[in-house]
Symmetry: none
Subunit: 226 residues, 2 copies
C-alpha cells in the first residue's frame, strides 16, 4: 500500500528536493505527484484522489488557497501549507481555508515529513471512528470531538450526549420525554424544562450552527441540515 501525495511548489530545486525526499522514504511508500504552478495543480487535484497535499501558497497561476478550496470541495484529504517566513496572515488564512498544518520557510524536510506522517495517521483514525455529520456539524464518537465548519467547539457532557442523540436521529422530531429518557436515564425527576436549558446551551456553543436545531412547538426539537 502506498500513499499518494501532491507537492506543489514553484521553486524547481525545492520541488525536486521535496519529491526526492518522499520518494526515498520507505520502499515505494509514497507515490509523488508534483506541480509547479496553480493551474497545473488544479488539474491534478481534479483528476486524482490524494492522501496528502503539500501546497506552496505563492504560486503562479492560482494561489495555494485556491487549490486548497478545490480540494476541500472534493474530499477532505489533509493539507500542509508552505509559507514564507513572517507571513502570519497567510497562516491564519490557511487555517480558515481549512488547511491542517503548515511549515514556514526555511523548513527542514524532516520536519515536513514528520508532520505528513502525523496528519496521515490522524486522518486514518478519523476514517475509522464513526463520524456523525449534519450540515456544518461533525461529531466524532471515538474522540468525542465536535466540529462546526472544521473548527473545534467545546461542549459539556450533557450537551454532548444530547447532540449525539440529535445527530443519530437527524430530521426526526424528538419529544422532551424521549430526550429525558435517553439522556437523563436514571434520575427522571427533573422538569421538562431541563431539556430546554440543555438545548439552549448546546445552541450557544454551536455558534453559527445553532440554527440547525429547530424548535417544533408543542412537540419537541429536531436537527436539520438547515
Amino acid at each position: 500500500m502506498s500513499y499518494k501525495v501532491l507537492i506543489v511548489e514553484d521553486l524547481p530545486e525545492l520541488l525536486e528536493a521535496m519529491s526526492d525526499f518522499y520518494r526515498g522514504k520507505g520502499a515505494g511508500l509514497w507515490e509523488v505527484v508534483t506541480a509547479s504552478d496553480g493551474k497545473d495543480a488544479l488539474t491534478k487535484v481534479a483528476d486524482n484522489d490524494f492522501d496528502l497535499m503539500i501546497l506552496d501558497i505563492m504560486l503562479p497561476g492560482a494561489s495555494g488557497f485556491d487549490v486548497c478550496k478545490a480540494a476541500r470541495s472534493k474530499g477532505d484529504c489533509p493539507i500542509i501549507f508552505v509559507t514564507a517566513l513572517g507571513s502570519e496572515n497567510s497562516i491564519l488564512k490557511g487555517y480558515e481555508t481549512g488547511c491542517d498544518d503548515y511549515v514556514v520557510k526555511p523548513f527542514s524536510l524532516k520536519q515536513l515529513y514528520a508532520k505528513s506522517l502525523g496528519l496521515l495517521k490522524r486522518s486514518k483514525k478519523a476514517e475509522e471512528g464513526d463520524l456523525l455529520r449534519c450540515g456544518m456539524i461533525t461529531l466524532n464518537k471515538r474522540t468525542m470531538i465536535v466540529m462546526v465548519n472544521d473548527r473545534e467547539v467545546s461542549i459539556n457532557a450533557k450537551e454532548y450526549f444530547l447532540l449525539v442523540y440529535l445527530l443519530e436521529n437527524k430530521d426526526s422530531i424528538l419529544t422532551r420525554r424521549a430526550i429525558l429518557e435517553r439522556i437523563w436515564k436514571d434520575d427522571l425527576n427533573v422538569t421538562d424544562r431541563a431539556v430546554d436549558t440543555a438545548i439552549r446551551r448546546l445552541r450557544d456553543n454551536l455558534g453559527e450552527a445553532s440554527g440547525q436545531i429547530k424548535t417544533v412547538i408543542g412537540r419537541g426539537y429536531r436537527l436539520t441540515e438547515e
Copy 2:
C-alpha cells in the same frame, strides 16, 4: 563507543581549533575526520559512515550543499552548516537541502558543540524506536525515556503507560473507563479516582508541560499540543 564526526572547513586555523575541541571532549568520545576542500570532503563522505557532519558552505572544489546532498543520498546523519554572517539566503538553501541546524560565523565552539550533542541525541533516539511527540512532550517507547522540551523527566510505570496511551490518542477525549481498561487491565476493582491520581502525578512530573493534559469535565482527559 565513540561518535564519528566530519568537519569540513577551509580555514586551517579554524579547522584545527574545531577538531582539537572535539578531540578534547570526553575520553575519546569523538573520532574526528577533517577535510579542507569540497573534493576531499566528498571522498570522505563516500568512504565513511558519520554520526555527524559540520560543513562550511563556502569551500574550494565543491560547496557544502553538494557535500550535504551526497550525504543525504547515502543516509541521514545530522548536518550542521557553518555560514558567514548575513548570508541568510544560504541558511534558507541549507534548510531546503536538508541540514538540521546551522551556526553563523563568528561562533563559539561551545555553542557549536551544544548543537552537536542536541542533534546527536535526537537522531539517535529517532532511529532507535518510535517516538511519540505532542507539544513539548517527547516519549521514546523503546528506551522509555520521556522528555519535556529536551529535558529528561522521570515518571513511574503507571504514569508512563498512561502517557503512552494519551500520546497515542492525542486530541481524543479518553474516558476514565477507557483508561482503566487500558492501563489497569486485570484488576478493574479500583476506583475511577485512581485515574485522577495517576493524572495528577503525571502532571506533577511533566512540569511545564502539565497544561497539555486537559480535563474534560464529565467525560475524561485529553492530551493537546496546547
